[in-house]
Symmetry: C2
DNA sequence: GTTGAAAAAGATTCAAA
DNA sequence: TTTGAATCTTTTTCAAC
């Protein structure tokens, strides 16, 4: 291997070959996963079979990773949203800390970051009290975490996917 | 009105009435928006019509907000992900700053926060250079922004929706 | 609220271009 | 890669429970 510090997965992930039809398809199905492919076909001026095959290809090459119905957390009783920066005692604890976080379902996003924090998470809880409980009785108990800093979201102004095209 | 500082929308959003069947449906369709409702029906041991009506109700009462195919940003060439805390010159600029951010498609999430930052965003760009360009030529130009702090994500460890049940 | 049955619509496959 | 046609499955509606 040319460089002992890299393996294949460390190279820049190659952007997929996406043409304008793919983009148009993606724009439609990333906004509504239940849209009939025949309707996509009509809007794109091609056959349903073409859309079917294109979507299959986009799935196969990993451009599309799946589909989901999205829920409104508040309607499920999740009224508190916060971001937290995590300081580790030692950087080498990273892996095990992330593993522990995966077991806390309220942590909905977890990133390995640079800057002042080693890990950065998004957490959604039912109440502020629920958040405090998780911080005190779960997060602070994780071996390797030195301390945490919390940024409460008072309101989510918007959320969307990466721009297509 | 009892309290001049609140209007109806400021009260705690009431969690919806969700029974175990709703939860089972949500678990399935939040993981795969394209799953046939008949398959959901089979897994739940009820009729397809029941699933159809339940999903319709969950949409009507706002528990489900929509559906989307999810894309892998890297496959679209978006290799840089960062979180940014925004300091405002004055809190009153909040509204107009958020409006300006909405016009920057690379900003995929925007929150009104407490703590050291007034606004907290997630931004996805093609490269670090692309991020720098947006910070220098777009973000810093927004009237009301004092300064920003950036936390680069080196790796997203996981991402998921709020726990159901 | 749930059901089964009917009708309408969509998904999937495939041979041909 | 795309297409239209054939087939199979799902969605949607609705009267009845």
């Amino acid at each position: 291997m040319e460089n002992k510090n890299m393996d294949k997965s460390d190279y820049l992930e190659q952007a997929a070959d996406i043409d304008q039809l793919d983009e148009k398809i993606l724009k439609l199905i990333t906004k509504n996963a239940r849209i009939p492919f025949l309707e996509v076909a009509r809007e794109c001026g091609v056959s349903g079979a073409a859309i079917h095959q294109r979507v299959q290809r986009l799935l196969n090459i990993g451009v599309i990773t799946g589909s989901e119905f999205t829920v409104n957390p508040q309607k499920l009783g999740y009224n508190t949203c916060a971001y937290m920066g995590i300081y580790l005692e030692k950087a080498k604890y990273h892996r095990q800390v992330v593993a522990a976080m995966r077991d806390i379902p309220e942590i909905v996003e977890c990133h390995y970051t640079t800057g002042q924090y080693a890990i950065f998470i998004k957490i959604q809880t039912k109440t502020n009290k629920h958040l405090k409980k998780i911080i005190d009785s779960q997060l602070q108990e994780i071996e390797g975490i030195a301390r945490t800093e919390t940024f409460m979201s008072l309101e989510m102004d918007f959320k969307r996917q990466v721009p297509i095209q």
